[in-house]
Symmetry: C2
Subunit: 208 residues, 2 copies
């Protein structure tokens, strides 16, 4: 059943497969990184792997509300790998600029290590996509960030904003985070505003 | 903050967004569908949402081992939505042909209902991708099935095949399931064979 001849015949392909499988094993840990958001049914916290699936699918459904000419495959790839750095760096729910900068340094090191498990050509493609996402330097990366904000808003809406209440989140903090939605997709931003207004009215989001 | 003028100005786009958000809320339930496989660290069962993320990412990494000329975006889209029917139909780990046929009917009804939440054009695209996946009628759908088998093999390898042992899975049952891997990507199949052989040697997979 084993085929040592094949390994000899194409050692490069065999070595590439080993590297790819090592990477895929390592990122399995993203399923154990808990986010602060809870599922729509309120049953438990969401993890970063299932979140990544949900945003990739949301991108397929919602990309028409962004700028024209978006490369949808690039958008989806970006969202599939945007949180992989959390395997090393954890999920952060930060508003403080110093803490955000420290987290960004941890994530950049994580990207080098984890994508570095892949064959060099794939490592370079994934690293470039991740850096583009972080830099918000393209229409795809701006829309990817917007969708990464809209999906949690869907969960906040379903659960009445209990997580905002739990962490004492303020209206100003959320509006800062949602700025990228306004930039990328005004229609999505208007919907997010309606979620925020209901949470404010219900006292789940702090004014100010 | 709200923009009723916009709703009046573009009621079609507003209605489309409502439908898309309804769909995205509904599929959040896929995060609560448990599979029989356990995570690589053995900590708990995997759910179908995080599995869908893992196979979509695996497709990006492993598609080079399949046939030449694969449409990678189609492959990834297929894998992002291949398990959504489980929101209604559950995850089945079946080897019996009658049970498999009954499950297929449940899944087809689920696809109509759940993708039917979307605007008609998106419903049609998603339904077509799902039916193509099920029919294995294209190189992309065959490779998608293969990757959907390779990812669990990665978890079985990491956990020493304990789930195969728990369910009394036989070598013949697994080989039947892995036939599509041999068809789509011989190099991946040879690696799967090595996982199976180790599980057999360790007594985790029943001979026969």
């Amino acid at each position: 059943m084993t085929d040592p001849e094949h390994q000899t015949a194409d050692p490069v392909a065999a070595e590439r497969l080993d590297q790819q499988l090592r990477f895929l094993r390592e990122v399995d840990r993203l399923k154990s990184v808990e986010r602060q958001n809870i599922l729509a049914d309120g049953s438990r916290r969401e993890n970063s792997a299932e979140h990544s699936w949900h945003v990739a699918l949301a991108a397929l459904c919602l990309s028409e509300h962004g700028a024209a000419g978006i490369d949808r495959f690039k958008l989806v790839q970006m969202l599939l790998l945007h949180d992989i750095v959390e395997v090393d760096a954890g999920d952060a729910f930060l508003h403080d600029p110093d803490a955000l900068a420290a987290q960004a340094r941890k994530e950049a090191a994580a990207a080098e290590r984890i994508f570095g498990l892949l064959p060099a050509d794939q490592r370079d493609v994934f690293l470039a996509l991740w850096h583009e996402f972080e830099a918000r330097s393209s229409p795809e990366s701006v829309l990817a960030h917007a969708i990464d904000r809209v999906q949690p808003a869907l969960l906040h809406e379903a659960t009445g904003g209990v997580i905002w209440e739990k962490y004492g989140t303020t209206h100003a903090q959320i509006q800062t985070k949602m700025g990228v939605v306004q930039e990328a997709a005004p229609r999505l931003w208007r919907w997010v505003q309606s979620v925020i207004e209901r949470a404010l009215a219900a006292g789940r989001l702090r004014a100010g």
